[in-house]
């Protein structure tokens, strides 16, 4: 047998274990090659690229409005945030000022997406420590959020929501009604989910002190979002570099202390409450006005205009055929995505597509720190750590 150990050097007693690419706990396709000493991980090596779809390269050949569906497929748990981030990047390049109503509508959609993202992440931590009930329990609330998205744009998971310059249509009364219902009923669900896990002795034992990272190391790696805030650094793009009228809203930035799995869980739990608060404020103070900005070269004119108006027909044709010219320039815009700072670095040489577009994907950065965080811990810890960092394969590989 070729597997027989002949050299009794201790190093040869280590086992190589392939965690992935198709392992149920990796929630997507990534591979970790672990060197195991029994249950303990001695060394780890991560690989990526299993679902690399070359989005950044594809984006160089596409008109801007066709890049929105690509961003859907980055972090598919909170695709509206990605869509909006991309739209705002283009608006920044064009120098477009969006009406307040657009900002508020965007904030509502983005915060709903954040809630759905955090719900999935936190309940999946539960699944990976063996408590499936919380997951199925909150999943129907993610479905309710998707119902709202469906009401706004017709899609649920990969939303492709909104347009450059605003949204394709105003919130319908049914949509407002659904958001109000959600805001009313969601707190009870979140409290119940919290009760299920937050003070559960086994859950605390499984997560406290597991997969921790210091604030310094996290900053060195370039952590952002809940994973950085769990280490105690109160960096949030929404507050540090407000976009989309976020400075109109009153919310706090929850931070953790130890940067371990439990802190990440708690930060996300608390952020859901803050998102709930922001949505409530935005819905109450939703300003009247237009739901799109004046960017005729990018914002599709309404259908009745297209059929009856020469100008509108021309714009429609130009936009759909991707013949709208982009100004020369270089712009970076970032939004607080579901799991960190999602940045878009756009270089335009004045053509009809981007000269170069780079997505700053937080999952890609977290995943680099993953091996450091799991070395010396057990296999079970490694899996919980991965799910608590919310590394989404689509965002990791782009």
């Amino acid at each position: 047998m070729e597997n027989t150990i002949t050299d009794f050097d201790h190093k040869n007693e280590y086992t190589k274990l392939n965690l992935g690419p198709t392992h149920p706990a990796t929630h997507g396709i990534f591979q970790n090659i672990l060197t195991m000493d029994g249950e303990i991980i001695v060394d780890a090596e991560q690989t990526c690229g299993y679902i690399h779809r070359a989005f950044e390269k594809i984006a160089e050949h596409r008109p801007f409005y066709q890049i929105t569906p690509l961003t859907d497929r980055l972090n598919y748990c909170s695709s509206p945030i990605n869509n909006m981030g991309w739209h705002m990047t283009v608006e920044k390049l064009l120098g477009v000022q969006t009406p307040k109503r657009v900002d508020y509508m965007r904030v509502i959609i983005m915060e709903l997406a954040r809630i759905s993202d955090h719900l999935i992440c936190n309940s999946v931590i539960g699944v990976d420590v063996g408590a499936l009930t919380g997951f199925t329990y909150v999943f129907q609330w993610r479905e309710k959020i998707y119902d709202i998205f469906e009401e706004i744009c017709g899609a649920r998971l990969t939303t492709n929501i909104g347009r450059i310059g605003g949204l394709e249509r105003d919130f319908s009364p049914a949509c407002i009604q659904k958001i109000r219902e959600f805001l009313k009923e969601f707190p009870a669900i979140l409290i119940e989910f919290t009760k299920l896990l937050e003070r559960n002795r086994i859950f605390m034992d499984r997560t406290i002190g597991v997969g921790g990272i210091s604030a310094e190391r996290a900053l060195n790696y370039g952590f952002t979002g809940p994973n950085l805030r769990a280490t105690g650094v109160d960096y949030d793009v929404r507050a540090m570099n407000p976009y989309c009228s976020y400075n109109d809203f009153d919310f706090i930035i929850p931070v953790g202390i130890n940067g371990d799995t439990y802190d990440r869980f708690m930060v996300r739990q608390q952020e859901m409450w803050e998102s709930h608060k922001i949505i409530t404020q935005a819905l109450e103070n939703l300003p009247e006005g237009k739901y799109f900005a004046e960017v005729p070269q990018f914002y599709l004119p309404p259908k009745e205009e297209v059929y009856n108006n020469m100008e509108a027909l021309i714009w429609h044709f130009k936009i759909v055929m991707g013949e709208a010219d982009v100004p020369l320039g270089e712009v970076y815009h970032s939004v607080e995505g579901g799991n960190g700072e999602l940045g878009f670095y756009l270089v335009s040489d004045g053509g009809r597509a981007a000269y170069r577009l780079h997505f700053r994907r937080p999952s890609f950065i977290y995943y680099q720190a993953y091996t450091e965080m799991i070395k010396g811990s057990t296999l079970s810890d490694a899996i919980v750590t991965l799910s608590s960092m919310n590394v989404i394969a689509g965002e990791l590989d782009a």
Binding site: V129, A131, D205, R206, S380
Partner: protein, 354 residues
């Protein structure tokens, strides 16, 4: 009807009941899970999905059977067989009810009233780990091996605490190891010496700590959450049965439910009076003897079903331990507690002189 024929029938009936209860436990598990998770659960096959276990069984038989090339074929097949065999063997010593009486002939509702019944249960349950070990090792898969190693160390660790908690019960039943005698002794006498309810002199009232230790160990022995590390699907994919398919996988899953059924029966016998129920003596005076026997069987099954439900309830409520935490709980918490329990029981028995 000779006693031998009766025993043969009893064995057959027990075999069928074990399998039937195991099959419907899978259905119950899914229904309980659905109830706890705000879902509906299986409801397509037959009324309320009651034919679901049969559909599952047929599915298991019809699935393609894959034996990995790199596996040890003989042991690969032997693993699930041993696990199933040991799971079915335990039911032999459980007293299922008061004895029946036909024409002066007494028929004990117990396959074998051996005088070391408790030891037999512990021994056979320990043998069950071989099924997991052999299956996990023969698969020649690292995940399966990890699961097998976890299973064996977990079972060995928790058997000690389990045995210790049983010793306290044995001390109370005048040192008899026969399950029949242990159950019978819980049906006589007054609770705490003064509460006069017949059939209520249950060990759990004297041994609450022992009961909790035994219950926790039973969870560990049956590999149920929070001790389902050997097969933790989010870490080890399927643990020891990662490579198994078709009915061999079915045997593993099935045997787990049989184990759960038998564990519930043993818990009921050791701590909850077995077939005894409050008012058994009074009923004996007003109803025919055989009717009371049948009611006593129903009482035992009521207790068993409650514990099966309890197993499921826990599974769908709490997360699982990590390997080192599991070991710490077994050796540093349960083991000392069990020893202290034995010491206290012994001291009290000596002081009060039985």
């Amino acid at each position: 009807m000779s006693v031998l024929v009766f025993k043969a029938i009893l064995v057959l009936v027990l075999f069928l009941i074990s399998l039937g209860i195991a099959a419907y436990s899978t259905y119950a598990e899914r229904k309980v899970a659905a109830f706890l998770q705000d879902r509906i659960g299986p409801d397509r096959a037959g009324p309320f999905g009651l034919l679901q276990p049969i559909a599952d069984g047929v599915k298991m038989f019809l699935k393609e059977e894959i034996i990995p090339n790199v596996s040890d074929k003989l042991l690969f097949i032997a693993g699930p067989c041993i696990f199933m065999l040991t799971a079915l063997m335990t039911s032999a010593v459980i007293p299922w009810g008061k004895a029946l009486e036909f024409g002066g002939q007494i028929y004990n509702l117990q396959v074998a009233d051996i005088n070391i019944g408790v030891l037999y249960v512990l021994g056979v349950v320990s043998l069950g780990v071989y099924g997991i070990m052999i299956g996990g090792w023969a698969s020649n898969n690292k995940y399966a091996l990890l699961g097998a190693v976890r299973a064996s160390s977990q079972m060995i660790s928790y058997e000690l605490a389990m045995g210790m908690s049983v010793i306290a019960v044995l001390l109370m039943s005048n040192g008899t190891l026969s399950l029949n005698d242990i159950v019978a002794s819980q049906g006589t006498g007054k609770l705490y010496g003064f509460i006069d309810i017949s059939g209520m002199n249950w060990n759990v009232f004297y041994q609450p700590l022992g009961f909790i230790i035994f219950l926790v160990c039973a969870f560990a022995e049956t590999n149920r959450t929070p001790f389902d590390l050997p097969e933790s699907e989010s870490e080890l994919i399927g643990g020891f049965h990662t490579e198994y398919s078709s009915m061999k996988l079915g045997l593993y899953l099935f045997a787990e439910y049989i184990n759960m059924f038998i564990s519930s029966a043993v818990i009921a016998c050791l701590f909850f009076g077995g077939y005894n129920f409050p008012g058994i003596d009074y009923l004996g005076t007003v109803l025919p003897h055989n009717v009371v026997s049948i009611i006593s069987v129903a009482a035992l099954f009521g207790k068993i079903f409650f514990f099966i439900f309890f197993f499921m309830w826990v599974r769908w409520t709490i997360p699982r331990f990590r390997y080192d935490q599991l070991m710490r709980l077994g050796w540093q918490v349960l083991m000392p507690l069990a020893i202290i329990n034995v010491l206290i029981t012994g001291a009290v028995l000596t002081y009060f002189g039985n």
